[in-house]
């Protein structure tokens, strides 16, 4: 049988970095991605669709999200859809899962692992978070109670070398527990980075949530044979691209040259972009983030600009200068200020001594 697995869509999630208008577009993009997930499942003629949790964000869920999900799941009326709520879409009395009138093909797991027979000889064990935090390991004390092939579906953090940095350990478990409790394979949610291992898979967030995401995230089509053989096939369903671009401003003699490079770099870019300015910026150039953010592009929102370039002050020479400027450079460098603030103070003071008005250093 074939199963389409996805997780961590995070409908209604905030996108602070995208700005007000960009945030709305990103949230719509998440919905569009779910539409494509259902399309893919129907095209692939899967026997079941599994969601590993964090389908939406309970604390932020908008009034029409329930109806949107219902309509999408209704499109796959002949395909059983199994949902294992996570720490963001935990199931409770006020949960969307309890409030929507799902079509009969939708099954939402609630609490400890519970068996659903996918087909003869293949059993799905699913569980759901009932609180936003503090959910215990689903596999502790669990053991399958029948023969056949057993699949797990839940939202949890695998421990050990597989753990994803910066993620809270909700319903944390050890990878070895999957086999120890009799499961042949676990379909998981929580970690956003995609990962396929012998005994489990994390499909990853199918649509970008932030910059810097890598790997083939999306939907995993799992083929399960009656002898327990399992094969995985990944499909990318996101349409939105988050560009992470570096622009070296070294050698730019004027602001116009910086802007030209910026425009050139983003000429064909669509979606969203984060631009890191690197290299050495001539001291004569008065450049602010708004200069770049307001440039016309084909992006869906203003680019996120990060100033990571050096300012072309020759500090070695300046600190030798027997002037107030030289003394200032020496004093700043000798101060106990944090490195970032030290750099800002240095550039600010040097600009002021140069008679410049662009005294805010990004």
């Amino acid at each position: 049988m074939k199963i389409a697995v996805f997780s961590d869509l995070h409908l209604d999630s905030p996108f602070v970095w995208a700005g007000s208008d960009g945030g709305r577009k990103r949230r719509q993009a998440l919905r569009d991605t779910l539409v494509r997930i259902i399309d893919l499942a129907l095209d692939q003629k899967v026997d079941a669709i599994c969601c590993g949790g964090d389908l939406f964000e309970h604390d932020r869920v908008s009034p029409d999200t329930g109806m949107f999900l219902k309509r999408q799941f209704e499109r796959a009326i002949d395909v059983p859809i199994y949902i294992a709520p996570g720490n963001h879409d935990w199931i409770g009395p006020r949960s969307l899962y309890r409030q929507a009138e799902w079509t009969p093909n939708v099954h939402v797991f609630d609490g400890a692992l519970r068996a659903e027979e996918l087909q003869e000889g293949i059993t799905l064990w699913g569980g759901g978070h009932q609180r936003p935090a503090g959910t215990r390991n689903f596999l502790d004390g669990f053991r399958v109670d029948r023969s056949g092939v057993h699949l797990g579906l839940f939202h949890g953090a695998v421990l050990g070398p597989f753990a994803e940095e910066g993620k809270a350990l909700h319903a944390a478990f050890d990878a070895s527990q999957v086999a120890e409790c009799g499961l042949h394979f676990a379909m998981l949610g929580h970690y956003h980075a995609p990962r396929d291992e012998h005994s489990f898979t994390y499909p990853g967030n199918p649509d970008p949530l932030t910059f810097g995401e890598s790997g083939q995230r999306g939907v995993v089509i799992i083929t399960v044979l009656s002898n327990g053989t399992i094969t995985l096939e990944r499909h990318v369903v996101a349409r939105t691209v988050l560009h992470d671009l570096l622009i070296d401003v070294t050698g730019c003699a004027s602001k116009q040259e910086v802007l030209d490079r910026f425009t050139e770099e983003l000429a064909d870019a669509e979606g969203f972009a984060r631009i890191r300015l690197t290299g050495e910026l001539a001291t004569t150039i008065d450049l602010s983030a708004s200069d770049l953010a307001d440039l016309p592009t084909r992006l869906s929102a203003k680019p996120l600009v990060e100033f990571a370039m050096r300012h072309a002050y020759d500090l070695i020479r300046l600190r030798e200068e027997p002037t107030v400027r030289g003394q200032f450079v020496r004093d700043v460098e000798a101060s106990n200020l944090p490195a970032e603030q030290k750099a800002r103070v240095l550039i600010t003071g040097l600009r002021a001594l140069d008679g410049r008005d662009d005294l805010e250093v990004a």
């Binding site: 209604d12 932020r60 116009q256 030798e320 400027r325 700043v332 603030q341 800002r344 001594l353 140069d354």
Partner: protein
């Protein structure tokens, strides 16, 4: 030139060669290590050589993008007038002795290089700046700051002339940075202004970015809290709606179940009805049963006859006194008497009252007191007691002391009268003696005067000794008081005597004894007699009252008896006795008359009994005749009444059975019609099949759980009501939740707003921190540098000033706070630089430029100074003074002076060597000296 005691500069440009530069091609200038004067008229190429030296030292910036304005201008001005080659070479000697050849290929900057002229090694990398070699880096400068530090233009001197403060500002700029763009004070002011406009303070009334960001953050944070609260409320409403929806499902299931049970019951009932209808129909294949109601009238007659027969009366037996005998006895009874049969109670009570009144009169009469004695005389007991008291009145005696006191008072009055005339004589003697003595003394008869004085004194003694012990008026008052007391006592004695005599005459006139005790005894006897008379009068009054009461009781009894028809003209007691006796007689008569009702009742009962016997006999005969006649009419029996009745009863039983049988058949047939309800048996069968099908569909089986639950119309109606009620509740809850959803703010967007506001607030605060910290460090740096540089400037100037001013100014000081320069004038007054003459000010400026050059370049290096026509507008005196400065400066560093003035040229000629004069040719050729 003058003496060469000063040390030669240790860094110098030995030569500059313009391979191709502006109008110059393949020419070289060899420069002196001290002063080099480059002279040439206009258009001789001085500016080009000046630029060539700069280009040779610094080169041009090599960049990927467009050039800046300064570079563009330089290129436009100094590109060769022909050919593609554009190159300058410069031979430089450093303090360390190193000789370097700088090759600046301005047409192809990649080919620029710096080569060690002695060893041939490439040292380009050491001084590479922005892609090309820049030898000023060794000086701690660069191609942008070198002109500011080492090149002095004629315009700079003009600036000092025009603005007296320009010198100090230049010093401050130079102290601030080698670029001399602005002073530290200006930088600090700029920072403060920037903070004021772009950050502001965290005050509620501020409209600057920091406060605005803070307010915005607070505002959007509140919006977020509200959004979360409304979101939670909305989820709560949704939860309630879901719960109610579940209740609707439950109620709906319950109602459907009851309907199913009811349908099953209806199907079962309909099937039973069908079975029943089919069973009945099979028994009436020919239609309805035959009616037997035509014999009903006969059955009613039989029933009536048998009823009469069954109820025929029995004839009772009669015995005892006949009605006629009783009637005779009744006629013999007396009538009921008139009048009382027992004494009336009110009469009896009046008789008792009368008896008590008679008894009271008799008893009072037996208690009559004795007759009282009659008192005599005109005096009462009280008068007798008063007379006795008067007779006993005592008569007082006059006090003898009063007579003695009266006599003594008269004697003292007499003695007082005799003393009066002796004192008058003594007084006269005193007066006469005094007058005589005064007269004698005045006439000179001293002894006589003395004797007369003694006589007067003796008279005074006598006058004193004869003074009265009291006054006459007092003695007369005492005498009057004694006489008044004597008269009062005499009047009391007279009054007592009159009182006794008066009482005695009154007693004697009544013939009574004058002894007071006797009079008091007589008074006591008069009191006792009075009391006895009062007692007798009271008895008489009581006796009269009792007799009146007795008479009244007698009258009332008499009236009562008369009211009862008794004649009571005589003794009322006798009349009462007669009344009582009459009552007794009437009582006995009444007893007899009282038996009449019982006899009358006995008579009525006897007459009724005799009538009933007669009636019974008549009714029995009628019943017998009825059964016999009816039996005969039905041809059942003969003439015996008992047999006829038996036959009629048999007939009646048989008839009742046929009626019952018909009724049963009729009921069944009616039931059939009711079951068919106007239809046919086949139609009924079809209806039953439909109901059974619906019951099967409902899923309720007769044996399933709850199938036996009681369901009727009321329970169905109740479940329907409950279903409608919870549906309404659910619809309201859904509507409420949907209504809230329409105005539900987005939590996500509110969070994004908060994050954005927080980022802006963080930016403002970070900027504030940065500016604050920058100001703090910059102020400290400015203070420290000014403190350091001020004495250095002062010391350097002090070294030069006496020489260049030919001893006019001998001392210099620089204020570390603002670097203001002051010179010590010949009059020993400190004078600010701004107050100096133009000539002196220019000298000071030039010196300061040189000093600052030394100060601003890297330690251990000496920077060449390029002067571009700095003397062109000076008069002879000032020009000479400045040339003296330049000459002096060139003893410590290389100075290259470009000039177009012949005066300077001639001055330079007189100073060679060690200085050098270069005369640039006009368009015709080159002349180098």
């Amino acid at each position: 030139m003058g003496e060469t005691t000063w040390r030669l500069p240790e860094v110098r440009i030995e030569s500059v060669t313009a391979i191709a530069f502006g109008p110059i091609k393949d020419q070289t200038l060899e420069l002196s290590p001290g002063l080099t004067v480059v002279y040439g008229p206009n258009e001789a190429g001085k500016s080009s050589w000046h630029a060539a030296i700069y280009a040779g030292l610094c080169g041009l910036r090599r960049s990927r993008g467009a050039r800046n304005a300064k570079d563009k201008e330089f290129i436009e001005r100094h590109q060769p007038w022909g050919g593609v080659q554009w190159e300058v070479r410069l031979l430089l000697k450093r303090d360390s002795g190193q000789r370097l050849e700088l090759r600046q290929d301005l047409a192809n900057l990649a080919n620029c290089s710096a080569i060690d002229a002695d060893f041939g090694s490439d040292v380009t990398a050491e001084i590479l700046s922005e892609g090309t070699p820049d030898s000023t880096i060794w000086l701690g400068l660069d191609r942008s700051t070198f002109p500011l530090v080492a090149c002095v233009r004629q315009a700079d001197l003009h600036l000092v002339e025009d603005d007296a403060d320009a010198l100090q500002q230049h010093l401050e700029r130079a102290a601030a940075s080698s670029t001399m763009d602005s002073t530290a004070a200006q930088a600090i002011e700029r920072l403060e202004e920037f903070r004021k406009e772009n950050i502001g303070r965290e005050q509620s009334n501020s409209t600057k970015p920091l406060q605005m960001a803070k307010a915005r953050h607070h505002r959007v944070e509140e919006t977020l809290q509200r959004a979360r609260r409304l979101h939670e409320q909305w989820l709560g409403l949704r939860e309630i709606a879901v719960e109610l929806r579940q209740k609707v499902d439950h109620a709906d299931n319950r109602h459907r179940r009851l309907l199913a049970i009811d349908t099953r019951r209806q199907a079962d009932g309909a099937f039973s009805a069908f079975e029943r209808a089919r069973s009945i129909a099979e028994r009436f294949p020919d239609g309805p049963p035959v009616n037997v109601s035509d014999r009903t009238a006969i059955a009613q007659d039989v029933s009536a006859a048998l009823s009469e027969w069954g109820n025929r009366p029995t004839v009772p037996p009669l015995d005892g006194e006949s009605a006629d005998a009783i009637r005779a006895r009744l006629d013999a009874l007396p009538a009921v008497p008139d009048g009382d049969v027992t004494p009336a109670p009110e009469v009896v009570e009046l008789k008792a009252q009368f008896d008590r009144a008679v008894h009271a009169v008799d008893l009072h009469g037996s208690q009559r007191p004795n007759d009282p004695e009659v008192a005599t005389g005109n005096l009462g007991a009280d008068e007798l007691r008063a007379l006795a008291l008067d007779l006993e009145t005592p008569v007082p005696v006059l006090n003898p002391d009063l007579a003695t006191a009266t006599q003594k008072a008269h004697d003292r009055l007499n003695a007082l009268a005799s003393l009066g005339w002796r004192r008058q004589i003594a007084g006269g003697a005193v007066l006469v003696g005094a007058i005589a003595a005064t007269g004698s003394f005045a006439l000179g008869y001293q002894p006589l005067a003395v004797a007369l004085v003694f006589v007067a004194l003796a008279a005074v003694v006598l006058w004193w000794l004869w003074r009265p012990d009291t006054s006459e008026s007092r003695l007369r008052q005492e005498l009057a008081e004694i006489e008044a007391q004597t008269r009062a006592e005499q009047r009391a004695i007279d009054a007592a005597k009159v009182k006794v005599q008066t009482a005695r005459r009154r007693v004697e006139s009544e013939g009574l004894p004058t002894i007071p005790s006797e009079l008091r005894r007589l008074a006591d006897l008069m009191v006792v007699a009075k009391e006895r008379q009062d007692t007798f009068d009271a008895w008489i009054e009581r006796a009269s009252m009792l007799k009146a009461a007795r008479d009244k009781a007698e009258d009332e009894l008499r009236e009562a008896l008369q009211a009862r028809g008794v004649t009571a003209s005589g003794e009322v007691a006798a009349s009462y006795s007669g009344y009582v006796s009459a009552c007794s007689v009437r009582s006995k008569q009444a007893a007899k008359a009282g038996t009449r009702p019982a006899v009358q009742q006995q008579l009525a009962a006897r007459e009724a009994a005799e009538h009933a016997v007669a009636d019974a006999r008549s009714r029995r005969a009628a019943a017998e005749a009825m059964v016999i006649d009816l039996a005969r009419s039905l041809a059942l029996t003969s003439g015996d009444a008992e047999q006829a009745a038996g036959a009629l009863r048999s007939w009646q039983v048989e008839h009742a059975e046929s009626i019952r049988r018909y009724q049963s058949e009729a009921d069944e047939y009616a039931e059939l019609q009711a079951l068919l309800a106007g239809g046919t048996l086949q139609e009924l069968e079809t209806q039953v099949a439909e109901l059974r099908r619906r019951a099967e569909e409902s899923g309720i089986r007769p044996a399933s759980a709850g199938a036996d639950e009681f369901v009727d119309a009321s329970s169905l109606e109740a479940s329907q009501r409950e279903l409608v009620s919870v549906k309404d509740d659910a619809a309201r809850a859904e509507a409420q939740a949907d209504q809230q959803a329409t105005s539900l703010p987005s939590v996500t967007e509110a969070e994004e707003e908060v994050e954005a506001a927080a980022a802006e607030l963080t930016r403002c605060r970070r900027l504030d921190d940065t500016i604050t910290e920058t100001l703090k460090v910059l102020r400290a740096a400015a203070e420290k540098v000014h403190r350091d540089i001020a004495p250095l400037l002062a010391a350097s100037l002090k070294e030069w000033i006496p020489m260049v001013t030919r001893g006019r100014y001998r001392d210099v000081k620089v204020d570390p706070r603002d670097l203001r320069v002051q010179l010590l004038a010949p009059d020993q007054e400190w004078r600010g630089a701004e107050n100096l003459s133009h000539g002196t000010l220019e000298q000071v400026y030039l010196l300061l430029r040189v000093v600052l050059t030394e100060r601003l370049v890297a330690k251990g290096e000496s920077c060449p100074v390029l002067l571009d026509d700095v003397l062109v507008h000076c008069d002879r005196t000032r020009k000479q003074a400045l040339l003296d400065v330049i000459k002096a400066v060139s003893t410590t560093r290389q100075v290259i002076l470009f000039t177009q003035e012949e005066e300077v040229w001639r001055w330079a000629e007189t100073n060679q060597p060690p200085d050098k004069l270069i005369v640039l040719p006009g368009p015709t050729g080159v002349a180098v000296t």
